[in-house]
Amino acid sequence: MTDKVLMKGNEAFAEAAIRGGCRYYFGYPITPQNEIPEYMSRELPKYGGSFLQAESELGAINMAYGASASGGRVFITSSSPGIALMQEGMSFLSSAEVPLVVVNVSRGGPGIGGIQPGQADYIQATRGGGNGDYKVPVFAPSSLQEAVDLIYEAMELADIWRNPIMIYTDGILGQMMEPVVLPEPRPVTEYSELKQKKPWALSGYGDDDSKRRVVKSLRMDPNELEMHVEALFEKYGRAEKELVRVETAGLEDAEIVFVAFGTVARITKEAIELLGESGVKAGLIRPVSLWPFPYDAFDALTDKTKVVISTELSMGQLVQDVQIGVGKRFPIRLITRTGGIIPTSREIVERALGILSDISV
């Protein structure tokens, strides 16, 4: 039995996490994601779970580290400035190979920026964000249904990959309402089964100290550290093959190929329809996984394509991956809005037509 309900984005994210097995949530208030800690404070205790309002985002991610290193299934959320504070923990958890699902309900920056939607944490999200060599798989939903499905799946993926996983959303998805089908609640690992299911997790070694566990990220011996980082990158190499997700449309005869993710991809889809009505064929590459990035999707572009346009709520961050995917085969242009302003589909159409006529001259 699945339920279809009308929900606010942030609440749907929280419910998806609970259904995905989250029993520990640590959060700190920041707009536009406050409905998530509010929902968790109300709902998690009903499942025997634990909600805690931390003293800061630093506190929250380090509590998350402690709970997950102990075998708990942990979900945390924040918005851009708070996510920036959490980068210390993201690096630490990645090195210690501790699972975690993190949602960024992102907003405009830099600095405190604003509270309206943004996508300007793209580079931070996809290149690690904290210190050192590490990677975090990042998924960017463009509807509440997709967000619910990705969060639900990520709760499992984080355990499988023993790595933080980020869901990159924005203030629109967090604040909008949409009907969603909620997945069946996943059975939760009983406390008594922890040692068996997560043999690496801290729980006290019991009677046999040969089974004692240490969760750590410090490696003073350079050779040991290098071997550790190489082992992490062997894992990331597998993730690059297995976790790539992309949606494409109309690439076979597109004059304009848009690249956009999240909310912007939805608006871009509407722009593509409008362009079609005026006789211009346009297609879309929508990366669902931002890291690993679906570079291979660009192989499907044909010589009918005149330009590739990265459409984003940042001053040109996604376009850096577009450049890697396209190489020198096609001209690349940008349509950006920032500061929390979202382009309309009409605006995208007008700017795309302008770019197309410039290219054709």
């Binding site: 805690l52 402690g66 801290l202 729980s203 566990r213």
Partner: protein, 244 residues
């Protein structure tokens, strides 16, 4: 023959990475010996800090994790949520707890977290090579207060026990020292009381342990013990600040 003194199972049989004369070894042993005597070694999870004792897990024979600078109380908070019936403690130095981790320790105490913190105060940053700590005494020379700490330039040393005992959630706060055999025995009693209070789930317990850093103080180990007694204890008085 009857053994009158044995190695505790709580310590891994290896050399520590600490300098000769450093009291970390004594503090480690006191905590581990206490857990051993209480039969808790297999049911304890410890959190190591950043600082000289970052690798405490190499010496303490229990399940353990590292934590980023100052975050040990947050990490222990997370551990406690998953394991409400295990014994959990943090082991933190003065740079870790009293400087970069003030937010975490204050709020762990405010929440009345049911774990213990053992706070090693030696008045200096040891691992990074002897810089001023928040607990460095006025006049004390460090690599970042080369003419001695002044109140005008760096403010006054922070008294952590006095600060923590003002917080309602902290139920047991005691300051001990490791400079004499008698004070070491008292320190062990304080450690045991902290674990007992955790067992009774009464709230947060903090034991501050005045310690020496002969290397960065530039003193021979015995002189360092004497210096602790003559300089630290007058500013950081020993005793129970709060008890249930």
């Amino acid at each position: 023959m009857q053994a009158v003194f044995t190695y505790t199972k709580g310590m891994v049989r290896t050399d520590t990475s600490y300098c000769p004369g450093c009291t970390h070894g004594i503090a480690h042993r006191l905590i581990m010996e206490t857990l051993d005597e209480m039969g808790k070694l297999g049911d304890t999870i410890g959190v190591a800090p950043i600082g000289c004792s970052v690798q405490a897990h190499k010496f303490m024979n229990i399940d353990m994790c590292e934590s980023a600078h100052g975050r040990a109380p947050a990490v222990a908070t997370g551990i406690r949520r998953v394991h409400p019936d295990k014994t959990v403690f943090t082991y933190q130095g003065d740079g870790d707890l009293a400087s970069i981790g003030t937010g975490e320790i204050i709020h762990a105490a405010a929440r009345g977290e049911k774990f213990c913190t053992f706070f090693i105060n030696n008045g200096i940053y040891g691992m990074t090579g002897g810089q001023m700590a928040p607990t460095t005494l006025i006049g004390q020379k460090t690599t970042t207060t080369q003419a001695g700490r002044t109140k005008e330039q760096a403010g006054s040393p922070l008294r952590v026990c006095e600060l923590i005992c003002a917080i309602e959630g902290a139920v047991y706060v005691e300051r001990v020292a490791l400079n004499t055999p008698a004070s070491i025995n008292k320190a062990k009693n304080a450690i045991k009381r902290a674990f007992e209070i955790q067992d009774r789930k009464l709230g947060f317990a903090l034991v501050e342990i005045l310690s020496t850093c002969p290397t960065d103080w530039g003193l021979a180990p015995e002189d360092a013990m004497k210096w602790l007694g003559e300089n630290m204890i007058p500013y950081y008085p020993l005793g129970v600040f709060k008890e249930p």
